[in-house]
């Protein structure tokens, strides 16, 4: 593996709230290599977006980075000065936000919004920017780009707005793309086209991509490696095929079993008992899944195992599912 484009090490994030400190992320580590797509998967509240926001330096003011590093080349994004960060954001890291309609500026035409990024980050002159913006729109597959550049976001469909977001994120040809649920709320047909577009452009520009989603099936189709998060912990980090054929963490196994696609009938689908623990609690167990876990043992009371630096399949569990021989049903053990 080449040197990672981004490596996050031991990231912990806390939020101060009136009812106590929410320990939203604890010791999160992951890395993306150049040209690689890594999916960050988990249910809502698992800390996927917070991870992305922390890396981008756009956490809510109530949030505090308690520990960790996020190395983009030689620069630690978490301790960088705001000025340095402003040089990196948009230029070296592009981000696609969840809801394109709310993320785009409603009172600026989409052409100008792309031009803004080009002027700020893309070394394009003010005069040449509008023409470049039209080219960007063409590159993301918008028909009649010259006319569309003059449109406002509300005049476009959700899929087209998402294409504009992609154009903005990629305007300065960043080396890292963070896509936060880029297709949630879009139709499956549009989703497929948008994901193709992201994948193709990422390949073309040799970008590293962090793809955040709650859809395990989509993550499986679009990424080389999947990082599963639960309640602010990375519980499993494995190559995609390996994760599906041989999930080691009980939570991952249950998540796969709960995905409707995997079952032939509704009765076969397994639900995950319990819910996320309250992250404000002072007495959170070291393994935040242990209170829901069917495989809990005495060892679960000790601090979680740490990732070996070169392990390709990492699991944060003291009693993981056994490594399986190929072809055996992955879920029955849980």
């Amino acid at each position: 593996m080449t040197a990672p484009a981004l490596s996050v090490e031991g990231l912990s994030v806390e939020f101060r709230t009136r009812s106590g400190v929410v320990r939203a992320l604890e010791n999160v580590s992951l890395s993306v290599a150049k040209g690689e797509t890594v999916a960050l998967v988990g249910e809502s509240g698992s800390g996927k977006s917070v991870t992305a926001y922390a890396v981008m330096g756009i956490l809510d003011p109530a949030g505090r980075i308690a520990a960790g590093r996020a190395m983009l080349g030689d620069l630690d994004l978490l301790s960088a000065e705001p000025k340095e960060l402003a040089q990196v954001r948009g230029r070296k890291i592009g981000m696609i936000f969840q809801n394109p309609r709310t993320a785009l500026n409603p009172i600026r035409t989409v052409g100008r919004q792309i031009a803004d990024v080009l002027i700020r980050h893309g070394n394009v002159s003010r005069r040449a920017a509008p023409a470049h913006a039209v080219e960007m729109l063409r590159a993301v597959g918008i028909t009649d780009p010259a006319r569309r550049a003059k449109a406002y976001p509300f005049e476009m469909s959700g899929g087209m707005c998402q294409r504009v977001m992609i154009a903005i994120a990629l305007a300065a040809k960043p080396s890292l793309l963070i896509a936060d649920e880029p297709t949630t709320g879009l139709d499956v047909t549009t989703q497929a086209v948008i994901m193709d577009l992201i994948n193709d452009l990422a390949k073309e520009l040799g970008m590293a991509t962090i793809f955040i989603t709650h859809d395990l099936a989509l993550a499986g189709q679009r990424s080389a490696r999947i990082v599963v998060m639960h309640a602010g912990h990375v519980v499993e980090n494995a190559p995609t095929a390996d994760l599906f054929s041989n999930p080691r963490h009980p939570y991952t196994a249950e998540l796969i079993a709960a995905t409707p696609d995997s079952a032939a009938s509704l009765d076969e689908l397994a639900s995950i008992p319990g819910s996320l623990p309250d992250l404000r609690r002072a007495d959170l167990p070291p393994c935040r899944y242990s209170e829901r876990c069917p495989r809990k043992i005495a060892a679960c009371a000790q601090p979680l195992p740490l990732a070996a630096p070169d392990a390709s399949h990492f699991v944060a569990c003291w009693n993981p599912l056994p490594e399986q021989t190929l072809g055996a049903p992955a879920v029955s053990a849980a």
Binding site: D187, V188, T189, Q221, I256, P260, S262, S271
Partner: protein
């Protein structure tokens, strides 16, 4: 199977834009001319029936008219033309406002998309479930309380949560409130508009299994609107695929998803991400045609369809029956699996 709900030739049009200037329209109206505003054909000539105890899925992309169709057949809005029959009774002629107080109102109930947004935020869970019982069953006092508690426990909602407001409930609990208030008045037909779209997979499973259990217990029919095909496949007996206001394919859910006959359904099925296989690259390009005053002779899917020919520009394909399936495509035969032709 006797049809519980039978809708025939239903269309719903909305006036679109102003057309000619307001002044020109006023002049024309004064001079007694005919008003010809452009119309959005949200639902265009749709017919289908739902049998007793059947679960029918309705799928299609956003903007294809699913919600309008559902609102028309639950009689929340009036249809432009067509008939909506519940059993032997014609409902389409009653204005929606009158139907709200009708004796059959309780027989068709709806579960809306996100109970967090569709339930009155000032109502506690108890008040939300009690509201339809008060209005449609005229229950009061002790009888009301008993009924609410019965339904809540049938839906797996702990009774101590009944005093909470929607924002104090989790997504799964809210979904249960939405379901409980709909089944409280014992409907025959439950219309579910993406009931699990806002939920995580782990909770989604629980809600789907609850729905299936309730259906068996109370012998209800479901119309299940969703764009998540893998959920529809699991829950539904039959599926209707809608595209731009028209039904383009219908049939048993397993067969339709296994061997889709309409090119649109094929693209839809191909676009669903699967856990254990990499997806095919069958993709739809372009945007759907405009639903405003569409040309009645052009297939709605023409332009995005990978198989479109000149014939598709000249005649709109009608729904044709293939066994127990119906497809609106000139070339449906060529997509039939060989086994089917032989038999």
């Amino acid at each position: 199977m006797t049809a519980l709900l039978d809708i025939a030739d239903v269309s719903k049009w909305f006036p679109a834009g102003a057309g000619p200037g307001a002044w020109a329209r006023l002049k024309r109206r004064i001079s007694g001319g005919v008003e010809t505003l452009p119309k959005v054909y949200a639902v265009d000539d749709v017919s289908f029936a739902i049998g007793k105890g059947e679960t029918v899925g309705l799928v299609g992309e956003s903007g294809c008219g699913k919600s309008t169709l559902v609102r028309a057949l639950t009689r929340l809005i009036d249809v432009s033309v067509g008939s909506v029959k519940l059993g032997s009774r014609e409902l389409a002629l009653k204005p929606a406002r009158v139907f709200a107080r009708d004796r059959d109102r309780a027989r068709i109930q709806m579960v809306f998309q996100d109970a967090g947004e569709s339930v009155n935020p000032r109502f506690t869970a108890f008040a939300a479930i009690a509201d339809p019982l008060r209005r449609l069953r005229k229950l009061r006092g002790k009888a009301l309380k008993e009924r609410v508690e019965t339904v809540a426990s049938q839906c797996g909602l702990p009774l101590q949560l009944l005093s909470r407001f929607p924002h104090q409930l989790s997504g799964g609990q809210r979904a249960r409130v939405g379901i409980a208030r709909a089944i409280a008045v014992e409907p025959d037909l439950l219309v579910l508009d993406e009931p699990t779209a806002a939920l995580d997979v782990s909770v989604q499973v629980i809600v789907l299994q609850l729905l299936q259990r309730l259906k068996r217990e109370f012998d209800m029919s479901y119309l299940f609107v969703s764009h998540d095909l893998s959920v529809v496949r699991l829950l539904c007996d039959r599926v209707l695929v809608m595209y731009l206001g028209k039904i383009v394919e219908s049939g048993p859910a397993a067969e339709v998803f296994e061997h889709p006959l309409h090119p649109y359904t094929q693209a839809l099925v191909a676009a669903v991400p699967r856990l254990h296989e990499s997806g095919s690259r069958l993709r739809l390009t372009g945007e759907p045609r405009s639903p405003i005053d569409p040309d009645p002779n052009v297939c709605r899917f023409y332009g995005r369809c990978p198989h479109g020919t000149d014939a598709c520009k000249l005649t709109m394909p009608a729904l044709r029956a293939f066994g127990d399936r119906q497809v609106a495509c000139h070339f449906a035969e060529s997509f039939l699996p060989q086994a089917r032709i032989a038999s």
